[in-house]
């Protein structure tokens, strides 16, 4: 039923990169995430699936503290990155976000040139000394996002002038340029055509070499194609979490089964 090209994925247990224990998120009085326990492994792609409004984006934002920017949001529980509590008062959310990058559902290039968009993060974090090094970072990031060939002659043109799919790949390049350890992607392909989607999927597969990637998606096929582990969320609960092959072929929970076979959504 699903393309399980990655079915013979290496199932050797990787190191745990991020983990959550008893995570709760409240928007005001309303609870959006309830008792979520999860371990996100290093050098793997983890997919979050589930019906709309179940809290996937909310939980994704827990992982890089982007919920801090929503005044009414409140997070409880223990969330760790490499064993350190990221909600510890001593942790600087700004530094955390440099280590845990994020790509959003809608492409959001800055009103700057393509070059400056990609160089934004490295500049802020002082990753390059000198122009040559920065040029190298920009080129490498654009190549990884499969955008270099299309834009190499127009790096000084505004990033907002690209097509939607190109913009999204620019945003991915921008996120990759800061060399994060974890990359969070919230429905990165929802604005893309099938060709750009498969380019991004290839990219995600490559990124797995060096990073841990978490991707939210509404496409079962995409989850099956790119991820090694899948988490199914429903009404704020993490219902089932396991290897992608097992989730799609042999789900343990009947809610998971009805969702992937299209009965709830």
């Amino acid at each position: 039923m699903y393309d399980t090209r990655n079915a013979e994925r290496d199932v050797t247990q990787n190191e745990i990169k991020m983990s959550a224990r008893k995570c709760q998120v409240f928007y005001g009085d309303k609870q959006a995430i309830i008792d979520v326990d999860i371990d996100v492994e290093d050098k793997m792609v983890t997919a979050f699936i589930g019906p709309s409004g179940c809290g996937k984006s909310t939980f994704l934002r827990v992982l890089n503290r982007m919920n801090d920017t929503i005044p009414i949001a409140r997070v409880e529980g223990a969330i760790t990155l490499d064993g350190e509590d990221i909600y510890d008062p001593r942790v600087d959310p700004v530094q955390l976000r440099a280590r845990v990058g994020m790509v959003f559902q809608k492409p959001n290039p800055f009103p700057k040139s393509i070059y400056d968009n990609v160089a934004y993060g490295p500049r802020i974090h002082g990753l390059a000394t000198g122009k040559a090094e920065m040029d190298a970072i920009v080129e490498k990031s654009l190549r990884r996002a499969a955008l270099w060939d299309e834009v190499k002659d127009r790096l000084q043109e505004p990033g907002t002038g690209l097509s939607g799919g190109q913009q999204q790949r620019l945003c991915i390049a921008r996120a990759v340029a800061t060399e994060p350890e974890v990359l969070l992607m919230d429905e990165p392909c929802s604005a893309l055509d099938p060709i750009a989607t498969s380019q991004v999927e290839e990219l995600i597969d490559e990124l797995r070499e060096s990073y841990s990637v978490v991707i939210v998606t509404h496409s079962m096929q995409q989850a099956a194609r790119v991820s090694q582990k899948t988490a199914f969320f429903h009404l704020g609960y993490l219902v089932e979490y396991g290897e992608t092959g097992q989730i799609f072929t042999n789900p343990r929970d009947e809610r998971t089964e009805s969702y992937i076979s299209g009965r709830i959504g």
């Binding site: 955390l96 959003f104 800055f110 907002t160």
Partner: protein
């Protein structure tokens, strides 16, 4: 017949026309609204249009044109018309107009016997004094000829008013009949009303445009008149401003322009950073509760009349500056009025403009850009500097230029805070004055309207207008350039 009555009658007729046309249309469809081409109310509105539009147009045109025509015809009959200069004719005509008005008012109040007003006799009354008692000041004593002309003026005005009443009411009646006659079920009333609405909108727009053109033309004509009397080169390049109302004045715009720009510059140096930082704080950092209080509080500043700011400059800021920079302090300042005083106060006045405009613009920057920047590990202030201000720049430039236009056009604060001396100096603690302040003082003099000392006000106004126009065009250009680049 008084104009008010004519208007009331026309509108009453329109109201009746609405009902009549609507009912006739309904009746023609046998009382069934579905049989009509348009909704019943459209037939009514069609009647209203037919009654009101032509008659009111004629009324307006008549009110504008008639006094001019009457004035011409009376002036043409002036006894020694050929011997008079144009200035004398306009003086005489102004007296005749005032006398005619005085006669009308006088008869109504019983101060002047009707025979005097109608007849030829001047005997036994001092008309000039009576008029003065009625609050109408005549320029010179009333002569026989003036009285005759004024009586002719009154007679013609009365005839014209009567003719106008008849014409307007007749048109309204015609419109009424025409609309009522056409109101049957096949008449496309909706389309007619639609076109009527279009015409109405176009007219409203053209009134705005025509008025602007009129104002600009009057500026230009008077400016040209000024340059006939006074050399343009001296106006633009002479470094002294020294009007003397006996003639022989030097009217160089440079010191005034310098004062204007200097004061505006200081005002902007105060207002732009404070206003912009306020806006950034309120929109990016402040919580919703603080914002709800602070934003209106700042906008109250914008509601303070400029004369109050002027008083503030005169009574508070000037003396404060004097205490520091005056004779008892550093000694740079001779008097409380100075460029610095006016500039500081004007800057305070502009803060709410800059801040509330920028605040709206910054808030319009999409949240996704903020999220994108924060998610890359940027701090809030890096996000503001590198992303938000970048995205909001065109709007902010527009806001600053708007503030600059206001600064350049401001008068009251200058009059009270900057002094009245036209001076070319770099010292910001010296008194200077601006173009607008001098326009006021040139026009409020008791001088002959045709002298260069008065007409110079128009040349000053035109110069100011050209400067602000260039600034607005420049702002538009900048804004458009950035829009193209980033949208």
């Amino acid at each position: 017949m008084p104009v008010l009555w004519i208007v009331l009658i026309v509108f009453a007729a329109a109201a009746i026309g609405y009902a009549v046309a609507r009912n006739r249309a309904l009746a023609s469809a046998g009382g069934n609204a579905r049989g009509l081409h348009s909704l019943p109310s459209y037939y009514g509105w069609n009647a209203v249009l037919m009654v009101v539009a032509p008659s009111m147009l004629v009324l307006a045109a008549w009110l504008i044109v008639a006094p001019v025509v009457i004035g011409w015809s009376v002036a043409a009959d002036l006894p020694n018309r050929d011997a008079m200069r144009s200035g004398d004719v306009s003086l005489a005509m102004s007296d005749i107009g005032k006398l005619a008005q005085c006669l009308t008012v006088g008869v109504r109040e019983g101060a002047i016997p009707p025979e005097v007003a109608r007849g030829a006799s001047l005997e036994g009354t001092d008309i000039r004094e009576t008029c003065a008692d009625l609050g109408i000041a005549l320029g010179s004593d009333v002569t026989r000829e003036t009285l005759t002309s004024a009586q002719a003026y009154r007679a013609k005005t009365a005839t014209s008013a009567l003719a106008m009443g008849i014409a307007v009411l007749a048109l309204a009646a015609l419109g009424f009949g025409y609309a009522a006659m056409r109101s049957n079920k096949d008449f496309r009333a909706r389309n007619v009303v639609e076109r009527g609405v279009l015409v109405l909108l176009v007219m409203a727009a053209s009134i705005a445009i025509l008025t602007t053109i009129g104002i600009v033309l009057s500026l230009i004509f008077n400016t040209v008149a000024f340059f006939r009397l006074y050399p343009a080169a001296e106006f633009f390049f002479s470094p002294t401003w020294n009007p003397s109302f006996g003639g022989g004045s030097t009217l160089g715009i440079l010191p005034l322009l310098w004062g204007t720009l200097y004061i505006s510059l200081i005002a902007l140096v105060v207002a732009v950073p404070i206003g912009l930082f306020t806006a950034i704080y309120l929109s990016e950092y402040a919580g919703p509760r603080l914002r709800a209080v602070a934003k209106p509080a700042i906008e109250v500043l914008a509601g303070i009349p400029t004369i109050v700011y002027g008083l503030f400059a005169l009574l508070t800021v000037g003396p404060m500056l004097m205490a520091v920079f005056g004779r008892d302090g550093i000694g740079w300042m001779q008097e409380a009025s100075s460029v610095m005083t006016a500039g500081l106060v004007m800057g305070i006045m502009l803060i709410p403009f800059v801040s509330s405009l920028s605040d709206d613009i910054i808030n319009a920057v999409p949240q996704s850009l903020r999220d994108g920047s924060l998610a890359l590990g940027a701090t809030p202030s890096e996000t503001v500097r590198q992303v938000i201000l970048r995205a909001a720049l065109p709007g902010i430039v527009g806001a600053i230029l708007l503030a600059a236009s206001r600064a350049i056009g401001e008068t009251m604060i200058v009059v009270l805070g900057a002094g009245a001396a036209a001076r070319l100096s770099l010292n910001p603690f010296e008194a200077m004055t601006t173009v607008t302040a001098k326009i006021v003082s040139q026009l409020t003099g008791d001088d002959d309207f045709a002298s260069p000392e008065v007409l110079v006000a128009f040349a000053l106004g035109t110069t100011l207008f050209v400067i602000t126009l260039c600034m607005n065009v420049g702002a538009l250009y900048i804004v458009r350039k950035y829009r193209e680049q980033y949208e």
